[in-house]
């Protein structure tokens, strides 16, 4: 019991520390720039919603939000779908070059995205896919697919191969086994993979901004256009930051059961 209370205490401390800057961001979002720079107050003395208003009245805001959600969702689905069979292959089979390919996948995450800006720009211009959601979703596959494969492989390797074999003996076809038995066993891995794919794609501003102009312009534009006539627009940035947390929080809320549900390796 004592141990449980210490656990709880540690968690509460960590979460409190973690939430302080977020609270601060919320605080800033409800203040005027003058107040932010001027004094330190725990809560706005002159509560203002102007920052949020600035965002909401900007016509590109709403579409920006939607555009981001579209390409991120596209990317999430593609990444996980592509990664699942590959992760299964790496986990269950050995084949020519397997270890090298596995490591090569990760190397795609070893360069700052800035390096890809110009080449991607040229590539997508050439194929006429500039300013499409698909372009950004495809571009983001570069760093999300390797991540998804690596995480899923890790979780799949935790399932003993005997489960596969028992299922075949029991008469399951491979697709049925994969969907009905295997995937539920790696639920927490899938949940966490989906969330990370969402997160890394959502916060990626450079590529998203470079590959789009009008039709698929994401919130990245708002995020980086932050200097007003009077200087740094702290309040608006903070408000934008607060707003961009919301979809991500929703995603993790939706996958919470996948991540948290225990592993019930019961009747096969």
């Amino acid at each position: 019991m004592m141990r449980k209370n210490i656990s709880r205490l540690i968690l509460v401390c960590f979460l409190t520390g973690s939430l302080l800057p977020i609270y601060w961001m919320l605080n800033m979002s409800l203040k005027t720039n003058e107040e932010i720079i001027g004094v330190m107050t725990m809560w706005p003395t002159h509560l203002t919603f102007n920052n949020y208003l600035t965002i909401f009245t900007d016509e590109s805001w709403y579409s920006g939000y939607i555009n981001s959600i579209i390409y991120v969702a596209l990317n999430m689905v593609m990444s996980v779908t592509l990664a699942l069979p590959a992760a299964y292959a790496f986990s269950r089979y050995s084949f020519l070059g397997d270890k090298h390919v596995f490591f090569w996948l990760l190397t795609n995450r070893m360069t700052p995205p800035a390096v890809f800006l110009l080449p991607f720009f040229q590539l997508y211009s050439t194929v006429g896919m500039m300013d499409t959601h698909l372009a950004v979703a495809l571009a983001h596959l570069l760093f999300n697919v390797p991540l998804a494969v690596w995480i899923l492989e890790g979780f799949m390797s935790g399932i003993p191969k005997e489960i596969d074999e028992t299922a075949y003996i029991d008469g399951y076809s491979f697709p049925k086994f994969f969907v009905k038995i295997f995937l539920p066993l790696i639920k927490s891995g899938i949940g966490v993979t989906a969330f990370f794919c969402f997160m890394f794609s959502w916060v990626e501003l450079l590529l998203a901004r470079t590959l789009t102009s009008v039709n698929a312009k994401p919130i990245a534009a708002t995020m980086t256009r932050t200097v007003s006539a009077a200087g740094m627009d702290w309040g608006v940035l903070a408000a934008a930051g607060t707003l961009t947390i919301v979809p991500g929080a929703l995603v993790i809320w939706f996958v919470r059961h996948y991540i948290a549900k225990g592993f019930a390796m019961g009747r096969v």
Binding site: P160, E162, I163, E165, T166, I169, M265, G266, R267, V268
Partner: protein, 365 residues
């Protein structure tokens, strides 16, 4: 080596259960003898794992008591109960060698190293793991890992009972037999109480002295393989045990004769059965049961035989399996010789000694 008693034991996940369907385990009272081998047999969801977990201490029952050698252990935690449990998949410590795995429970109990080594060697020999002692446990095959799992339980001399939760599920079929035999050997040598949960009747019947048949939270019969086969007290037992299971045919009684599909048979009617039928409610479900092994097939009609048609005939090597269409009912028969061709008529008779009667699924003599 414990005598396990269950007194009015029941378990419900609801706070105030009102009807039988609220119970995961319906009230039962049972005694299991010291050193016996018992199997809990039943389909998925029948409550056998719940019962096992109550005995091992992982679940605290909502009603009733569990006694080990007369001592109430109902609320004692698992570690205080002197039991060992083997799970559906091998549970071993990956980073340790086989020896370290087996030594672990003893180390935690503060044993001296020399004693530990001796005991581990002893158990390893019984389980035929001696050559693997130095190896990392994680590199072994599934059946070896299950033996290690089992070994960790056996290594404690004070272990009273070993509980198995479908332990052969992930084992290769040809290795299952070897493991089962090993379990029987251990049972004889170490004289422990063994309780084995399974949905496979072959496993249950070959392993246990007494089989506890369960369905939907209820214990329907406890008995040896022979008793369960010849005298099933519940239609479920008749149907579940045997391959194929018992034939259950709706019947009626009129003028003291048993009729099937309105046709008279020569079966003698047990007294209580007659009484139950005549005085019972009209909604009672009345059936007779006869095992395929005891169905007699005749090529021509004899007195009081029932006409049927052969719908399927198959040579199983050691016997013939026939499916007969008796009106709207199917009757399976296991025969020594080919009964005839598919589609030809056949006459069935059932001997009185082998026919059992059931009212509302319960046997009436």
């Amino acid at each position: 080596m414990a005598r396990i008693e269950l007194v009015n034991l029941a378990h419900s996940y609801k706070a105030h259960p009102t009807s039988p369907s609220d119970y995961a385990l319906l009230p039962m009272t049972m005694t299991w003898d010291d050193g016996g081998a018992y199997a809990l047999l039943g389909p998925s969801g029948c409550g056998k794992t719940t019962l096992l977990n109550i005995i091992s201490g992982l679940v605290i029952p909502s009603e009733g008591q569990v006694l080990f050698d007369g001592k109430d252990v109902t609320r004692l935690p698992t570690e205080a109960r002197n039991i060992a449990q083997v799970f559906q998949f091998p549970v071993i410590y990956d980073t340790m060698t086989v020896r370290e795995n087996l030594a672990f429970p003893l180390k935690n109990r503060g044993w001296k190293t020399a004693d530990i080594t001796k005991r581990v060697d002893q158990i390893a020999e019984i389980l035929e793991l001696t050559s693997d002692l130095k190896h990392r446990a994680s590199g072994l095959t599934a059946d070896a890992k299950q033996k290690i799992s089992l070994g960790r339980g056996l290594v404690r001399p004070d272990v009273a009972a070993v509980l198995f939760d479908e332990p052969l599920t992930v084992i290769d079929p040809h290795l299952k037999w070897l493991l089962r035999r090993k379990l029987k050997e251990i049972h004889h040598e170490l004289k422990l109480s063994l309780i084995y949960v399974t949905h496979d009747q072959v496993e249950a019947l070959t392993f246990a002295d007494q089989v506890v048949v369960m369905t939907q939270g209820e214990v329907v019969q406890v008995g040896s393989a022979q008793v369960l086969f010849e005298e099933p007290e519940h239609t479920f037992v008749g149907y579940f045990i045997g391959n194929p299971g018992m034939n259950l045919l709706p019947c009626s009684v009129s003028q003291n004769k048993v009729r099937i599909n309105g046709l008279e048979t020569s079966l003698s009617v047990p007294e209580n059965f007659l009484h139950a039928v005549n005085n019972g409610s009209a909604n009672n479900v009345i059936k007779l049961g006869i095992r395929p092994e005891f169905v007699e097939c005749h090529a021509t009609s004899i007195a009081n035989s029932l006409p049927a048609q052969l719908s399927m005939v198959r040579n199983m090597g050691t016997h013939w399996l026939a499916s007969c269409q008796l009106g709207e009912h199917k009757v399976a028969a296991k025969l020594r010789h080919e009964p005839g061709k598919v589609g030809s008529p056949i006459w069935l008779s059932f001997s009185s000694e082998r026919t059992l009667f059931y009212v509302n699924d319960k046997r009436v003599r």
